[in-house]
Symmetry: C2
Subunit: 493 residues, 2 copies
Amino acid sequence: MFWFRNFIKISTATRAKSPNTTNLILTSLSHFSTGASQPPVAAEPLGLGPTKADEKPRVVVLGSGWAGCRLMKGLDPKLYDIVCVSPRNHMVFTPLLASTCVGTLEFRSVAEPIARIQPSISTAPGSYFFLANCTALNTDTHEVHCETVTEGAQTLEPWKFKISYDKLVIASGAQASTFGINGVKEHAVFLREVHHAQAIRRKLLLNLMLSDVPGISEEEKRRLLHCVVVGGGPTGVEFSGELSDFIRKDVDQRYTHVKDYIHVTLIEAKDILSSFDDRLRHYAIKQLTKSGVRLVRGIVKDVKPEHVILSDGSEVPYGLLVWSTGVGPSPFVNSLGLPKSPGGRIGIDEWLRVPTVQDVFSIGDCSGFLESTGKPVLPALAQVAERQGKYLANLLNRIGKDGGGHANSAKELDFGDPFEYKHLGSMATIGRFKALVDLRQSKEAKGVSLAGFFSFFIWRSAYLTRVVSWRNRFYVLINWLTTSVFGRDISRL
Amino acid sequence: MFWFRNFIKISTATRAKSPNTTNLILTSLSHFSTGASQPPVAAEPLGLGPTKADEKPRVVVLGSGWAGCRLMKGLDPKLYDIVCVSPRNHMVFTPLLASTCVGTLEFRSVAEPIARIQPSISTAPGSYFFLANCTALNTDTHEVHCETVTEGAQTLEPWKFKISYDKLVIASGAQASTFGINGVKEHAVFLREVHHAQAIRRKLLLNLMLSDVPGISEEEKRRLLHCVVVGGGPTGVEFSGELSDFIRKDVDQRYTHVKDYIHVTLIEAKDILSSFDDRLRHYAIKQLTKSGVRLVRGIVKDVKPEHVILSDGSEVPYGLLVWSTGVGPSPFVNSLGLPKSPGGRIGIDEWLRVPTVQDVFSIGDCSGFLESTGKPVLPALAQVAERQGKYLANLLNRIGKDGGGHANSAKELDFGDPFEYKHLGSMATIGRFKALVDLRQSKEAKGVSLAGFFSFFIWRSAYLTRVVSWRNRFYVLINWLTTSVFGRDISRL
């Protein structure tokens, strides 16, 4: 008998343990003997000093988005110590973020821990991930100044530290642009981070439940359940599609009391999906309208707690307001004394260097080609960031091999071919089993463009294979599977 | 060619759409014409009035825990309108909650939407789920007073409403007891709701990352990574087990820099798992110690932001403090003018009725047998709550069939057999592949008790089959699978 053998194990255990247990009680706190007295933070050393010639050179990466993570993935830990500074310890798989707002996908499925993308940052002795923001930059001394992110959690006071770099890669990304419109930051939700998606989901479910409570007026019910999306780019369109899909598939069944009150309105100043082929755009308009999304051409002038005001003076009440009108330079980028590209991004040359200073590179949404390069500033797309990260990883690895890894030692090296961007096309879903795929290199160029289920299929598989780890590919697949079988999850956590 | 057909679809679409689009823009906001002017909440009717004789009687359920959800699952929607009032729209599968803190399971896998447990609450015309708290009770007029839960989300001001009941079931549960110790509420985390588990997870990962930042002292590092669990009941033991398992399996690999600094201490005033067989308890002590959990016998006197003070004066610094010292009556229960059981719970008779008033029942952790029944107050266990919910569902269904569903109409009915509780045994895991199963009916009784892998296996399968929906059973299985293949997830969302 299995459990009988366990009995014997236990009884011997008992005899062996009894004295021990008391020991434990006495010894258990010993290692804190000096704990209370000491100051929380030691005076020195505060930070990581310069690397010595006989040490591995150190690459410091600011940011953990598409650009930074693709770079870290490609960097050779045998050549460099890798230090990542970012306010989040994971990369967000942004193309699928919209799906998490309505429970089609779980939040975790679209978040990839950096330690999985580049294991050495948590295992190699000289490599680190620091949960912190970069506050300043000293290109003369090759130092970045950082401050820890503690989110007011009663854990530790935030404190500052410095890191010396041999190579610095600024990949801190852009920030959602509000065009200086009042109330956007206060009342609207962006859709760039997992916590944004979580906020949208919580608010959507909260409003669905509140609108069912007795004593609420018809108009208030309508307002609570009116979801307004500002910005008709891929993000705005995908979110509107997911939302209307959620309404038709799940709300209709599981919130029968209020299903007739919920509506989605998409507000765009110009044309939706302006970067896409006109035929695709009209197809998208047709599909969105068919699935119940109201398309409004208008310019938002002011955002109040319960309604937005358009430039024509009309008021649009909302219960949930999602803001996806593109991105602009972050305050951090603005604060840097570096040359700027058109549009105020960090100015880079064809090798993604900041040409005015040594050993500083910049990739992703925060950077743009200098006017002097004669190249256009590339769009703020995952595709661009990913390609730049890949290119720079190879470049830095080559520099490292050629012995130019340390600070100020790459001056004479040949950097080889400059970065060339080849647009592989744009994709966007518009609700269930419908997507647009535009495989042309530019709006003018000839090329293939598809719409409908076939492209939906391309889209899903394309993304599925691009989700970084197998674990997440697996999870996304499972999520899509369970959602189609059991419907979306509606528990509000 | 598939995409070619799409072209045709599109071009026809284009022609058809162009005029339409303009229409849309003009009409899209029409249904808000009167929106801005109206008051947010209508003057009347504020709430659900009494049911008429020709209407279905209304059962109002306060709470959505094991007791309330099991009851709603069993109630016959053909006999009753079901109205649930609870601050959360899902049931928490508490036995697996500890596993979510360290990423063994996802949060969603242990949360079951009430609408899945009893679909009629979101579909039947007279049945509702209200995201609200019950604030008061009027047994003479058969009314409950409620206030909406809005969590300060800028959505709507919380407001009050009333619900008339034909039958009222109070299943609002208990609350974690702090024994009046200062600082517990402020600095410790309980482990009863999903948001508790989320808070623990976020804090644990935050501390793991912060402890790696340069400039932090040795002692501070030790403090940050010292997880202290107060209370040696099943919850405390299971959490300690999961945590030490997480440390040995995941932290060792993925936080190599700090792995030697992280420790778990379990503080218990008397014996851990006191309700279990002595042999099992010693086995548990042996296993926990082996897996690196420090067992400290002590009484917490005071809780400071960064350390707890024990009654013997010794100080225990902590980075994460989890409080699981059992439960006591909630302020709501205390506020009710109803007879109380020993221990201050709502006093009930053998039929789970509150005997002093008509049509009021109480089940789960918030209720206990009156002294007059001569029965002992049952322990605050999921098992008890689940059994009571099931019993009461059958009782109310029978009453409904016999025409006693409406208020004050069940006086003469025979309630049949009283509720009998038969303890099916207790279970607790202690980390990886180890669990205790105590199948005796009481501490004194003879019976089977097992420990080790075999019982771990029983435990997992027992719980797996008790997770409410197939969707969640499936998810839990998938979670356990992926965790064992890929390790736990460490992205901090």
